[in-house]
């Protein structure tokens, strides 16, 4: 049997001695690289998916709250709570209370812990349409300890000293010993009850503890539009003990004796 020269020649062909090891090492390195790339790819995919989800959420929030500012997402309520929008314009603070101290020049006074200065720019009195007319009684000329003051300032009260923008009222306190003005006008008091006593002349009667006298000025009966027609039954001519009488007087009932201003009814008791 002849020897296969071709097979022998191919068998003697020189190849790299470490081909197997070198190839195996190269394959394992490649595999490791592939795994790393796969991990990176997964990470990238994860980030992409996360960012996409965030974008969708943000878009959803914006779509649901179109009026909310885009720079303050509603997902951060604490941040939104702390970052309040700046206050625009001036803040007015009321000045109300009793003056506890007045400066030597008389242009500053102390209300509570706040020193208030009155300058030429301070508006005195109120120009509101419903305000009372300026008077010495409501707006005194000099600040005195004990006066009741009201007004406002637009300055920062935390400094402890401000200039008043306006002083509406400066009223002197009421003095205990001062006589109060008399109450003017008449007060009407009802006369209602059963006559317990009649005077000899028959022109006076007693209801409870009050003696009531009927004079020519006393109006008899009711003249209102809904009043019943005058009748002997409802308004008898003679006052008798036991009759039910109603009317009113404008006299002072404290004296125990009054003149009747009007007598509506004078009825005999029912049998």
């Amino acid at each position: 049997m002849k020897k296969s020269v071709y097979k022998s020649a191919m068998s003697h062909l020189k190849t790299s001695e470490d081909f197997q090891e070198a190839t195996y090492t190269k394959l394992m390195n490649h595999k490791e690289r592939m795994n790393m790339e796969l991990t990176k790819k997964r990470k990238a995919m994860g980030w992409t998916a996360g960012l996409a989800a965030c974008a969708v959420l943000a878009a959803g929030i914006l779509a649901l709250n179109p009026s909310s500012p885009a720079t303050t997402p509603s997902s951060q309520p604490s941040a939104a709570a702390t970052a309040k929008p700046p206050i625009m314009g001036k803040v007015a603070v009321n000045i109300d209370g009793v003056i506890s101290e007045v400066s030597a020049d008389g242009k500053s006074f102390k209300v509570g812990d706040l020193w208030v200065e009155v300058t030429d720019q301070t508006k005195l009195g109120s120009s509101e349409p419903t305000a009372a007319k300026p008077s010495e009684e409501l707006l005194r000329k000099n600040f005195q300890v004990g006066d009741i003051v009201s007004g406002y300032t637009s300055q920062d009260v935390s400094t402890g000293r401000v200039t008043a923008d306006a002083i509406y009222n400066l009223i002197a306190p009421e003095k205990d010993g001062e006589a109060k003005p008399a109450v003017k006008g008449k007060a009407a008091v009802n006369i209602d009850g059963v006559i317990s006593e009649v005077s000899e002349d028959g022109k006076s009667f007693k209801v409870g503890d009050l003696w009531v006298t009927v004079t020519p000025e006393t109006k008899m009966g009711i003249d209102g539009p809904t009043a019943a027609e005058p009748s002997e039954e409802l308004l008898q001519k003679e006052f008798k003990v036991g009759n039910i009488v109603s009317g009113f007087t404008t006299d002072d009932v404290g004296t125990g004796k009054v003149n009747a201003t009007n007598i509506y009814n004078n009825m005999a008791p029912r049998q």
Binding site: K2, K3, S4, V5, Y6, K7, S8, A9, M10, H12, L13, K14, T15, S16, F19, Q20, T23, Y24, K26, L27, M28, H30, K31, M34
Partner: protein
């Protein structure tokens, strides 16, 4: 499917069993040992990446040979490979008879060269070669007969003597 350890072991085993065969097939195509080794490495890389499942060892070897042939063909077609004008290996270190026979086979057209290699080096039958090369067995038989005839013309020999490969 393999797990990572099984795959590593499978590759290591395939390297031990088939690396020389794959280098020789690639050499039969490319006529250069360095290129042949690169192709063989690419084949094992494909094995690692695709993780094919085989019915048996023969199936595995056939897949590796088929992949080697495809990669060798691709390399021959590649512009960078053709422009490089690779120099065939110097085979002077082989005994003269072996060197002459090998040079004569490598000088054949590749459609005759590969069936001759698979038949005379790997020992595959015409049917098996037909399966690997995805050709008809009759065609493979024709390629083998013509290849042998061409070699007989080059190497010479008695009229009635079958060429010794």
């Amino acid at each position: 499917m393999y797990n990572s350890f099984e795959l590593n072991e499978s590759v290591r085993r395939a390297l031990g069993l088939y690396s020389q065969s794959l280098i020789k097939i690639a050499f039969a195509y490319l006529k250069n040992t360095a290129d042949a080794e690169e192709v063989a490495q690419d084949v094992f890389l494909a094995y690692l990446q695709k993780r094919p499942v085989f019915e048996n060892g023969e199936h595995e070897k056939a897949w590796l040979i088929r992949t080697t042939i495809n990669k060798s063909k691709n390399r021959l077609k590649a512009g960078w490979f053709r422009s490089r004008n690779p120099v065939p290996d110097d085979l002077s270190y082989l005994p003269k008879e072996e060197s002459d026979v090998l040079q004569a086979v490598l000088a054949l057209d590749k459609k005759y060269r590969i069936p001759i290699h698979l038949h005379y080096y790997e020992g595959y039958s015409i049917q098996e070669i037909a399966t690997i090369l995805e050709a008809k067995p009759a065609t493979v038989g024709t390629w083998l007969a013509r290849g042998r005839a061409l070699l007989k013309e080059k190497i010479g020999g008695m009229e009635d003597e079958e060429i010794c490969l």
